[in-house]
Subunit: 688 residues, 2 copies
């Protein structure tokens, strides 16, 4: 589905992550112009609102079968970034957008030079058990088993941890749960000396790179990562219970991924990865594993973990579904598969290089305000075939652009209309998400549904919109059709980033008939057309006020006692939120009044649309989080704290509890107050 | 005159520096509306351009005598920031802007809590010569001599170096020229041990605070600063050649000032100095003297410098007009006024505190696009009476606001018009500065004239516009009527920041009859009305392209050989500048086409105005200069290099020549290229 979380593309930043950005202007009206003597041509087009018939027409033309065919074309071959398969998709997309009948007004490429990491095709990475005499007692599988022929494609990249450094460290194995700081601390508390050990960790709980970054702080020399069937397969672990017999991950499946905490090209933080751009030395890169790291399948992980020594056993929360009791190590148990003196060796032969790649952009020009843009995007590159991640989103986008392109070419949409959205903020929920064709359960795919109403949350750093919302403050939205979490505990769809994320998998287990895809296309197109064509932008700023108030309540509940003790008052924050809410209500009222005017002045409409459009920018402070690349959005930045409140404040509070630096808490509180005051002033009417 | 360079206000930041910000919307039309059946009311007001008769009317109504009276009222008493005299001016200005006949639409105060430095009124600061036996052989004058009664006002603050720390260090005296790094280095090269010395330095060449910051690096323990008559008086140094007999500085005159390298409140960098704002600990403040520092008059400086020991004598460039040959020290010569063993002691009793103060803001509401603002501002606080700095600018502003306010009240200006400009970029030169009433020599004041044509340069960090242009990227302009530099070598007008900058001084020697003030008011009002009322903003973006090209030429000439040697190419910079120039020419052409349309669409006009208005923002990069508070404007930031080229590039180049860090040069070049590419994209037409 559109917007599946992927990490690989973050490192590509502007290069690939927005592979399918469509840009076009906001169209405020699109009908044939009624000529009246004495009045200028543009008069009537300026105050015309969205035409419901246009929406209806769009919805009717979206075809599930075409989306299915798009998906088949897009995922027929592996298309990892900058590989041949990926370059072929550049051409596929350009061809679609340049089609004489259904293409867009224009389509173009924008080239970048991006820093990537690859495994050495000649020397496979591995995780081995090495006995005292130096001989190998076990070696991990090189790649997934061939179950549906797709896995045998010679372009399937063997599993690796992108950006992990090469090396072959060897040591006693320990089980470190999810590789969080607290996990390693727990091992130390158990009396385990982590120096020189190899840690095996399961996916989840911490970022991929963090498992190694954290471990290295404790003396760990190599990290192994696997997907526990308890986290992704509802405990199913046998070959016959998993794909191709169900949507569950087979025992040999390995999640690849970008082991990188930041987004954007690693060598050119804050700047476009162009030929002329200064590149930092590789040793200044942060947020990637400092020690060799390798992912394996749970079949191999079972061999390692189920033979670990150590007493007591790992606590309940650390246990998984490998079919044995997990011990912590260090090393293997006496009565197991391997001699107790055996060690584990992580063999990594990754290399890094700068490759050329392109963004592909297509455009439908706006007819009234062609300098105002609505963007719709998705990344293009996958880890293997990438049927769900990312091609499901691309397949939907191509169908949306086909229908809109056709409508433009046929003259229904006058002089072009905005094509595609992607970036819109959560506030859309009241304004825009109740398009009547978008609703209902979907029974064909038991685990997948679109819960009515939409489930809405804040945007994390989890996908292609990250640089738009977090760095640029562009109002953003992520629409995904996902599975019913009451029916499965899977952390993500099980084939994620493996050689089993194929067209066959998608059409068999995810969306037979592609009707969910069709629903997403209709929803997305609906929002897109409304954003582009509505006289007044369909964004409800009061929702933001509610969110701020919720965040405030959490902060007050958790922090107030300590803050008061350190003479820091939350009252100015509360005052700022009240001001924001009053301003939002006032703007809504002015919008309502404007809607009742028969002939509103286009500049009055423009003024209100600017307030709606620029609100998100007011929450940016590029100096708020100097340690976090790109994160500038004070309300939505990433946070380490588990509390759903202002991230800078929450993290500063946690730190102050440790180090006593309450000044930093006051500073972060100041930053929050200032952006909310700024945001309120954006929404307020001009001074009289 | 408006915009005289002052440093004090920088520390007040948003609190006082923009004391007289007038804000109002861009008025695109202002006539009575012609009603036509079938067309909305707003139709005709949207495409009406500036009315020349309005300008004419404004020009005719500006009265020199009223400006003179304003100046008398404003400078009758000392009004240092947050003192009683300053608070009285808040009321004076509010009263003027709330006048029923000539006031503005509204006027208001905005309170801040600002960090200030004051001398102890009970314990005067001094610079003394102390003999070996501990007795005092000399002590500097406490304040200026009373020459015209103004100096006897009990509210005249005694000379001090604001923000210099208290203390009474003592040591051998050395003469350190202007206190630049190179000056101290030169002294060391002469074999002088600076450890434990007191340095006497003259104003000029380096920032006030830098004289002490630099000296402390060499072991200097106290700094004395004076104004050399060679720098400010064309060498005139006697009582009968100086004020009240001429405009020159009397021997007892002392330039006070803010010894602070940054702008904005020192405790709240990047945040408004409000009650809720986090304040950094005082020991984290940078950019102020780390050692006691005190300014004195040149009469006292002569006693110290003309008795210095040391051979050889100071080199020619270091000599001044005190009437003796300057030696370097250390200490006093054998045959002079003081025993050779005497030392100089700098006695400073300054204290720092947080005071409350207000911005005063007045507003004329725009009638068509009331959310677009033109700002006109000046600071309010002075060091003493401050007739020229800052009151001349305020006197002019009050006359402009009186005339515009009156025109609004009388209904000539419909529904209000923008009041006051201040912030506009240099590009105004072609578009706007040739108002026909603004020209000519002014013979009444032999040293002051407005050279025709305007002398135009880039905006430094030297005045109240600093935070607007450097931090916010708001197109800014500084209009000043200044003296003819072919007739005097004065660094600045001689009474600057002394107790002699009085109304008497201004009316006698600066602008008898206040006709120069009148000319400034007409010029400023002219620009202001054009900015507010023109259908298309009168800004010529091609001027920016010329400046970029000049900067490029300087960079190529000076840096290319070394850059090539380090594999850094200037070609992408040249390509970016070419793109910018083409984009600017294209925009100019589109503007010309738009002007020829009988009824341009208001949204087409809005689009072009946005491009003109937002251009300056494209040059901001808040991460370009992390060490320089607030400086974000990549083209106009301060620089240490003497080369008139891209500041970050020039400084990185100079550093690389010392430390070999050519990567930083490449990074700064990248930053320049990126902002120019961004700026070009702002100007380019939307994609087709």
């Amino acid at each position: 589905m559109a917007g599946c979380g992927v990490r690989w593309q973050y490192i590509l930043g502007a290069a690939l992550s927005g592979a399918l950005l469509l840009t076009a202007g906001i169209l405020l009206g699109h009908y044939a112009i009624y000529k009246e003597p004495q009045t200028p041509e543009w008069l009537h087009s300026l105050s015309r609102d969205l035409d419901p018939a246009l929406l209806e027409d769009f919805m009717n033309q979206v075809e599930a079968a075409r989306i299915g065919q798009n998906l088949k074309d897009l995922s027929s071959k592996p298309h990892m970034a900058t590989t041949k398969g990926d370059e072929e998709l550049v051409q596929l997309i350009l061809k679609a957008w340049r089609d004489p009948q259904t293409g867009l007004d224009s389509a173009m490429e924008g080239q970048y030079e991006v820093f990537l990491s690859f495994p050495d095709p000649e020397k496979p990475n591995s995780v081995a058990v090495v006995m005292e005499n130096g001989s190998q007692a076990f070696i991990s599988q090189e790649t997934e088993k061939n179950l549906t022929a797709d896995q045998a494609d010679r372009d399937v990249v063997k599993p690796y941890a992108a950006y992990a450094p090469p090396g072959n460290p060897k040591g006693k194995l320990v089980y470190a749960n999810q590789g969080k700081m607290s996990d390693y601390e727990y091992l130390v508390q158990q009396g385990i000396d982590l120096n020189g050990t190899i840690a095996i960790t399961r996916y989840g709980g911490a970022g991929r790179a963090d498992k190694a970054i954290n471990g290295a702080k404790f003396g760990v020399v190599g990290v192994v990562v696997y997907t526990d069937p308890g986290d992704i397969n509802d405990g199913k672990a046998s070959a016959t219970e998993t794909y191709p017999y169900s949507w569950y991950l087979p025992p040999s499946g390995v999640e690849r991924g970008s082991y990188n905490s930041h987004f954007g090209d690693l060598l050119t933080p804050y700047y476009p990865a162009k030929g002329f751009t200064y590149r930092i030395p590789e040793d200044q890169i942060t947020g990637i594993p400092p020690i060799p790291t390798q992912p394996i399948g749970f079949e191999d992980a079972k061999t390692l973990i189920c033979n670990l020594a150590g007493n007591p056993v790992a606590e309940a929360a650390w246990q998984g579904a490998l079919g044995c009791v997990y011990h912590l190590g260090p090393g293997f148990r006496q009565d197991g598969l391997f001699p107790n003196s055996s060690e584990v060796q992580v063999n990594v032969h990754n290399y890094r290089r700068i490759n050329t790649s392109s963004n592909v952009m297509g455009l439908i020009r706006g007819s009234v305000e062609p300098d105002r843009y609505v963007l719709y995007g998705n990344h293009r590159d996958s880890w293997v075939h990438g049927a769900i991640d990312p091609s499901s989103g691309t397949a939907v986008m191509l169908e949306i652009s086909r229908v809109l392109g056709k409508m433009v070419k046929e003259g229904k949409l006058r002089a072009g209309c905005v094509c595609v959205f992607y970036f819109l903020w959560w506030g859309v929920k009241h304004g825009n998400s109740r398009g009547r064709s978008v609703s209902g359960q979907k029974d064909a795919s038991p685990t997948y549904c679109l819960p009515p109403p939409f489930s809405l949350g804040s945007l994390g750093a989890g996908s292609d919109y990250a640089s738009f919302i977090h760095y640029l403050g562009i109002t953003s939205m992520d629409i995904a059709y996902t599975y019913d979490r009451s029916k499965t505990s899977a952390r993500i769809y099980p084939a994620y980033h493996t050689a089993f994320d194929t067209f066959h998998y998608a059409e068999t287990f995810i969306d037979p008939g592609f009707t969910s895809h069709q629903t997403v296309a209709r929803t997305a197109g609906n929002v897109l057309i409304r954003l582009a064509d509505a006289l007044i932008l369909p964004l409800n700023v009061s929702d933001y006020g509610e969110t701020l108030q919720q965040m405030y309540s959490v902060a007050r509940e958790a922090f107030q006692a300590d803050l008061t003790h350190h003479n820091i008052s939350l009252d100015p924050l509360w005052a700022a939120i009240n001001r924001f809410q009053a301003a939002a209500a006032g703007l809504n009222q002015r919008i309502a009044n404007l809607r009742e005017e028969a002939n509103p002045s286009p500049l009055d409409v423009r003024m209100v649309n600017d307030q709606l459009m620029l609100l998100e920018r007011a929450f940016l402070n590029p100096r708020a989080f100097p340690e976090k690349y790109y994160y500038s959005h004070v309300i939505m930045a990433s946070r380490s704290s588990s509390l759903a409140t202002f991230p800078g404040l929450a993290d500063a509070y946690d730190n102050a509890k440790e180090d006593g630096l309450w000044g930093e808490v006051h500073k972060q509180l100041t930053i929050v107050i200032q952006v909310i005051e700024n945001a309120a002033s954006i929404l307020e009417p001009v001074a009289e």
